[in-house]
Amino acid sequence: MLSLPDSDTNTGASEEVHIESGPGSRLRHWVVSNTKLRLFVQFVLWVSILTLFTETVAAGNGMTLSKQPRDTLAVPRWLYLATGGATIGASALLASFVTDRAFIRYLHNWSLPGPTVDDWWTPIRWIGRSFGIVVLGLAVYLGLTGPQLPTASFTILVTFVVVRAGLPMLTYLGGNVWPALNPWRGIVSLLPAGHRTYPRELARWPAVGGLLLLVWIEVIFPVSTIPSILSLAILGYSAVTIAGAVLFGPDAWFENADPLSVLFRFFGAVAPVKRRDGKLTVKLPGSDLTDSDLITDTSDVAFVIALIWELTYSGFITTQTGAATTEALVSLSNIGVGAVQIRAILIYTLLFVSGYVVFFAAYWYAGVLSRRRTGTYITAKRIAFRFAPSLLAIAAGYHLAHYTGLAVSLSPALGMAILSPLSPPANPLTLSPPGWFEGLSIAYVLIGHLLAIWAAHATAYELFSSRLVAIRSQYPFIGVMIGYTVISLWILSLPGATPPYLP
């Protein structure tokens, strides 16, 4: 027992304040009320400093970028990249000023209770999943029989504008609605399932493989241009998903092995709206990224890194530099064996896999360095697990940066395809986003990283008792995050191109 008076009535956040203030109830009241004031002042101060910092940088780049072509920056490219990296570094330095555990815990525990949804959950789920099944069936059918023009095809627009772009945005900006929409789960719930128990040691590795495979298919095969091929891909995905869910039971399959469900679950961790204990709760965005039960296996880390890498990769190969790199590598690999197409596919695959390995290794090494530098006895693996959720904020920022333009430009076409899926207009309307969208993308990337820096800071404070160790433990991860930012900003500054050799 603590020898301070009425210490047993203290819980959580106030405890520490209590210990700091020493005995004396009058003094304690004064400190507690003062803490609230201090929390408020600190909050206002940090928010204003952070916004000032990001706004100036983003606005500066936005203005230079909006002068039409992407490749003529008024600022030299290295300086633009250095500024982006410095923003992350500076915000990490600023975050290290926040050493008040009570304040950090207060921010991360803040929540607004919403309406109870448990009574409504079952009907919502049934309606949502039935709707999902109808859309899935329509997408497959129209892909095979409907118009083969990509911007008029219901299949392509629903797959890429809704599932690839819109739903993840809704998930990390709002909340995860995928469990209520998942059509495959709806189908499996009608079938007898669960003939085998899911092997525990596989963890989320099938989902990692599935995600990488889906992205690889998206790059190599013309799924985003030819609706009938996309329909076949959807049919293949459905077959695997339904077979897996029937074999291992829907709970185990969609929790561990289905790449889409795992993706939405992870993006949902960034979201402000959560369903908890049958209630909708609003929290500060990213405040659940310090949870220790989000990442429990190496495969979870691999999945989070895959989310970051796939967006980086698909960004890179659609730039002129990326196209030039592929062409150079393909001509280098000309040893007289194999057609150009085959070699190109090999090069794309090789780039995809090796880049992923580099991204993963960089993150893992940061965990090892963090352990070594702080001399802690906590294993590098556990450190890597705890810091990995903060990367989800980065992935969300990348996703928003890469897909806002696509979602906006194709939204009228999507509207028309939904209104008349069988006979869409021959020449659908596509918008071309204005130049300042580029500036917005840069802002999204930076905001994602800032959120990640903050989440990492809060995580370090939960993991380490010594605040000095907590601050030092973050340095390697901040280094990795600066690296990711610089790469991502570099890709955003490159002029776009169509990837060569691909159908």
């Binding site: 027992m1 603590l2 020898s3 210490s7 047993d8 405890e15 520490e16 210990i19 700091e20 020493g22 008024a74 600022v75 030299p76 300086l79 250095a82 500024t83 410095a86 570094g89 500076a90 330095l93 600023l94 290290s96 000023f97 050493t99 555990r101 001399g375 802690t376 006895y377 906590i378 294993t379 693996k381 556990r382 008792s465 010594s466 605040r467 000095l468 160790v469 601050i471």
Partner: protein
Amino acid sequence: MSYEGTTVPRRDSPAGECDYCGHPFPTTDRLVLHKGLEHPQELDDDEEDAFLSARADEEDELRTLRLKALGALVLLYFGLLFMYAIFA
């Protein structure tokens, strides 16, 4: 007693283990801070005094670190300012 998620390197000898959860620590002050933060209800008077003094020491070191961070921020700011003045 071992604690999940920790390993002690073979060359190292830990300064101590937490009496309540078995978490090993390389230095005494980290152990003291851990006890104060994670098991505040179980501390005796001596341990509590040790925690308060470790906290005070930590506070001093944090002040130094903050100064360094401030210096780094100023350097970063003026570094970028000059870069922009010269190159942009």
